[in-house]
C-alpha cells in the first residue's frame, strides 16, 4: 500500500516536471509581448525595458526556466502582473469556493445516486428503473450551465426560494479563516453565516451535481446488476442470511468498487463544470480569475493556477486509488 503511494507520488513529480516545462514553453508562445500588453497604449521602449527587467522577460529562455523552477520549488509562484497580488494568496482565496462547490455537488450526487442506482437495479424494469435510466441519460446530455440557468430562473428568480448569486449574503459580517464559507461559520460558531453559505450552495450544487449524479446512478445500477447474479450472493441467500445483510455486506460493497474509480475520473469534469456553474451564479471561484488572466496575458497567474490544479487533480486521483485498496482488500494483495 505504502509503496503504491510512494510510486504514485514519484510519478506525480515526473508529471509535474513535464507539465512545468510545458507551461513554461506555452506561456512564452502566447501571442503578444507581455510587457507591451501590461503597459497598454502608454508603452514606450524605456517602459518596456523596465518591465522586462523587473519580470525577467529579457533574460535567455533557459535561464528564465531555471529561475522559474527554483521559485516553484521554494513555493514562490510569483505575483499577478495585473494586480500585484501573490498568486498563492489569490489561489487560497479563490480555490476554496470552487472546491466547496465541487464537494457539495459530489456529496449530493453520491447521497442521491447510490441509493437510486441500487433501487433501480433491485427492481429492474420497474417504474423507478425506467425513470432513473431516462433521467441519467438526460443528465449526460443537458449542459451544466443550461441546467444552472434553468434552476436559477425557476427557483431563484420565479419562486425566490434561493439566492440568485454569490456565496453569502453581503449583510452577514462573517469571519473567514479557511475561505470555505460553510466551514468558517462552523469554526467561528457563526451558525447563521454557515447556514447562509449553505443556502447559497444549494442551486449551484444541484446543477453541478447533475454530471456525477447521472454517472453514479448508471454505474451503481450496472454493477449492482452484475453482482446480484454472482454465485456468492446466491450462496448468501441460500444460507438464509437476512436481506439487509446481503445487500450491505455482499452486494453494495462489491458493487461500489467501479463507482469509486469513476469518481476519480470525474474530478476533471467536475472542475470544468464548477467553473461554468460559477459564472452563472457569480461565485468568485477560480473561473473568472483564470479567464481574466487569459485575456490579460497574466503569465504567473496562468502558470501557477494550472500547476496547482494539476496537483490537486493528481492528488484526488491518488486518494481515490488508495481508497480503492481499502474498499477492496484484493487490490492491496496484487
Amino acid at each position: 500500500m505504502l509503496s503504491l503511494v510512494v510510486r504514485r507520488l514519484g510519478l506525480l513529480v515526473v508529471v509535474l516536471f513535464g507539465l512545468s516545462l510545458l507551461l513554461f514553453a506555452w506561456v512564452r508562445a502566447l501571442p503578444g509581448d507581455p510587457a507591451r500588453a501590461l503597459l497598454g497604449e502608454k508603452a514606450t521602449p524605456a517602459g518596456i525595458a523596465a518591465v522586462n527587467e523587473r519580470y525577467g522577460f529579457d533574460q535567455p529562455v533557459w535561464q528564465q526556466y531555471l529561475t522559474y523552477l527554483g521559485q516553484i520549488v521554494r513555493g514562490d509562484f510569483g505575483a499577478s502582473i495585473n494586480t500585484g497580488e501573490p498568486v498563492v494568496t489569490t489561489f487560497f482565496e479563490r480555490f476554496p469556493a470552487t472546491i466547496e462547490l465541487s464537494i457539495a455537488a459530489l456529496v449530493l450526487a453520491i447521497a442521491l445516486g447510490i441509493p437510486l442506482g441500487y433501487l433501480a437495479a433491485r427492481r429492474r424494469g420497474g417504474w423507478l428503473d425506467n425513470i432513473v435510466v431516462g433521467w441519467s441519460l438526460l443528465g449526460v446530455v443537458v449542459p451544466v450551465f443550461f441546467l444552472a440557468v434553468i434552476l436559477k430562473y425557476a427557483l431563484a428568480i420565479q419562486f425566490g426560494w434561493f439566492p440568485t448569486s454569490g456565496r453569502q449574503n453581503a449583510r452577514i459580517d462573517a469571519t473567514h479563516i479557511t475561505n470555505f464559507y460553510v466551514l468558517d461559520g462552523l469554526l467561528t460558531r457563526e451558525w447563521d453565516a454557515s447556514w447562509d453559505a449553505l443556502v447559497h450552495l444549494v442551486l449551484p450544487a444541484l446543477a453541478l451535481g447533475s454530471i456525477p449524479l447521472a454517472i453514479i446512478v448508471r454505474i451503481t445500477r450496472a454493477s449492482v446488476l452484475d453482482v446480484l447474479s454472482d454465485d456468492h450472493v446466491r450462496t448468501a441467500q441460500a444460507k438464509g442470511l437476512p436481506r439487509g445483510v446481503i445487500s450491505r455486506r455482499h452486494v453494495l460493497r462489491n458493487a461500489l468498487l467501479p463507482v469509486s474509480t469513476t469518481l476519480g475520473l470525474q474530478a476533471g469534469a467536475l472542475l470544468s463544470g464548477a467553473v461554468l456553474t460559477e459564472t452563472v451564479f457569480s461565485i468568485n471561484g477560480i473561473g473568472s480569475y483564470l479567464f481574466d488572466a487569459v485575456t490579460q496575458l497574466d503569465y504567473p497567474v496562468l502558470q501557477g493556477f494550472i500547476l496547482f490544479i494539476a496537483v490537486v487533480y493528481a492528488l484526488v486521483n491518488l486518494v481515490v486509488d488508495v481508497s480503492y485498496g481499502f474498499i477492496d482488500p484484493r487490490v492491496r494483495v496484487s
Binding site: V15, G18, L19, L22, W26, A29, L30, P31, L137, L138, V140, V141, V142, P143, V144, F145, F146, V149, I150, K152, Y153, I157, A222, L225, A267, G268, A269, L271, S272, V275, L276, T279, V280, G287, L290, F291, V294, L297, L302, I306, I309, A310, Y313, A314
Partner: protein, 305 residues
C-alpha cells in the same frame, strides 16, 4: 491492462451474421431494429440537414441586429407574424439565430472531432502498432495530456491562439486526442496475438502493411462508436467554451452557447431566450448519444445490457 484485451476483440465476421452477410451488414440490421437508435439517427439527420440548409430554412440573415430599435431595456419582442420566435436581445431574428447556431455547432463539432480523431489515431497507431519504447513515450505524453483537465487544456489553447472558432475547434480536439489514442492502442494490442495476425506475419507481410491494411480496419467499429459519442460531448463543449467567452468576439454571433450567455442578462424578462438554445444543445447531444450507443450495441452485440 490485460482486461482490455478481452474488450477489444472483434468477433470474427462469420460468427456474427448469416451466410453472406458481412459484419457491417448484420450490424446495420441490428441497428435498424433498435428504436432508440432510430430516434438518435433521426435527430442527428435533422440537425445535419438544418445545419447544411440553414440559408434556405432561415427566414433572415444571422447576426444582423436589424431590429435593434425594437428591443428596449425592459422588453424583448416575442413571437409575431414576421418573427416566429421573436427577437433576441441584439435585435436579430431568434429562429434565424437558432438555425445558424446548428450550423456552427456542426462545423466546429465535426472539424474538432476529425482533428482529435486524426491526431489520436496517429498516436494510437504508433503506440499500438510499433510498441516498445515508442509505446512508452507516446503513452506518457497521453498521460500528461490526461493530467490536465479538459477545460484547462481548452483555455490554454484559446489563450495561445486568441479567441475565435478555430481555437475552440483545436481546444476541443486537444481534449479528444488522448481518448482516441488510448482506444486505438488498446484495440491494436488486443489484435496483436490473434491468429490472423500471426498468419499474416508468417506469410511475410511487413508490420506496417499488417497494421494499416488489416488490423486498422478491424478497429473501425469502436472508433466509429467513440467518434459518435464524442460528437455529443463536442456539441456541449462548443457551447461551454463560447459560454465562457472563448469563441467569436462578436457577441451577437449565431452560436447556441453565446445565445445562452446573453440570455442570462434578461432571464427575468425573457427566459425563452435561454430556453431555446439550451434545448437545442440538449437535443442534439441526445441524438448523438443515442446513435452512438445504438451503434455500439449493433457493432458488438455482446456489450448490450
Amino acid at each position: 491492462m490485460s482486461a482490455v484485451d478481452v474488450l477489444g476483440t472483434p468477433a470474427p465476421a462469420e460468427a456474427t451474421g448469416e451466410a453472406g452477410a458481412g459484419p457491417w451488414l448484420s450490424a446495420w440490421r441490428r441497428l435498424r431494429r433498435n428504436p432508440s437508435g432510430i430516434v438518435g439517427a433521426v435527430i442527428v439527420l435533422v440537425f445535419v440537414l438544418v445545419a447544411i440548409a440553414a440559408p434556405l430554412l432561415a427566414p433572415y440573415r444571422p447576426a444582423t441586429s436589424e431590429w435593434f430599435g425594437e428591443v428596449t431595456p425592459t422588453t424583448v419582442p416575442g413571437p409575431s407574424d414576421e418573427h416566429l420566435l421573436g427577437l433576441d436581445s441584439f435585435g436579430s431574428d431568434l429562429l434565424t439565430q437558432l438555425i445558424y447556431g446548428a450550423r456552427s455547432s456542426l462545423v466546429i463539432g465535426v472539424v474538432s472531432t476529425a482533428i482529435g480523431l486524426a491526431a489520436g489515431a496517429v498516436l494510437g497507431i504508433l503506440a499500438g502498432g510499433i510498441g516498445g519504447k515508442v509505446d512508452t513515450i507516446v503513452m506518457r505524453v497521453v498521460d500528461v495530456l490526461l493530467s490536465i483537465p479538459a477545460l484547462l487544456l481548452a483555455v490554454s489553447v484559446a489563450a495561445l491562439l486568441g479567441r475565435g472558432s478555430f481555437s475552440i475547434m483545436l481546444a476541443i480536439s486537444a481534449a479528444q486526442v488522448p481518448i482516441f489514442a488510448r482506444l486505438l492502442r488498446a484495440s491494436l494490442l488486443a489484435q496483436r496475438g490473434q491468429d490472423y495476425v500471426v498468419a499474416l506475419r508468417s506469410l511475410g507481410l511487413r508490420q506496417r502493411r499488417i497494421v494499416v491494411g488489416h488490423m486498422l480496419p478491424n478497429s473501425l467499429g469502436p472508433v466509429l462508436v467513440q467518434a459518435t459519442l464524442t460528437l455529443a460531448t463536442a456539441v456541449i463543449e462548443v457551447a461551454a467554451l463560447s459560454f465562457l467567452g472563448l469563441g467569436d468576439p462578436n457577441p451577437a454571433v449565431a452560436e447556441w452557447g453565446r445565445m445562452l450567455v446573453t440570455a442570462q442578462d434578461r432571464l427575468d424578462q425573457a427566459p425563452h431566450l435561454a430556453l431555446y438554445p439550451g434545448i437545442a444543445i440538449a437535443i442534439t447531444a441526445l441524438g448523438f448519444t443515442l446513435l452512438g450507443e445504438a451503434l455500439r450495441e449493433a457493432l458488438d452485440p455482446r456489450s448490450s445490457r
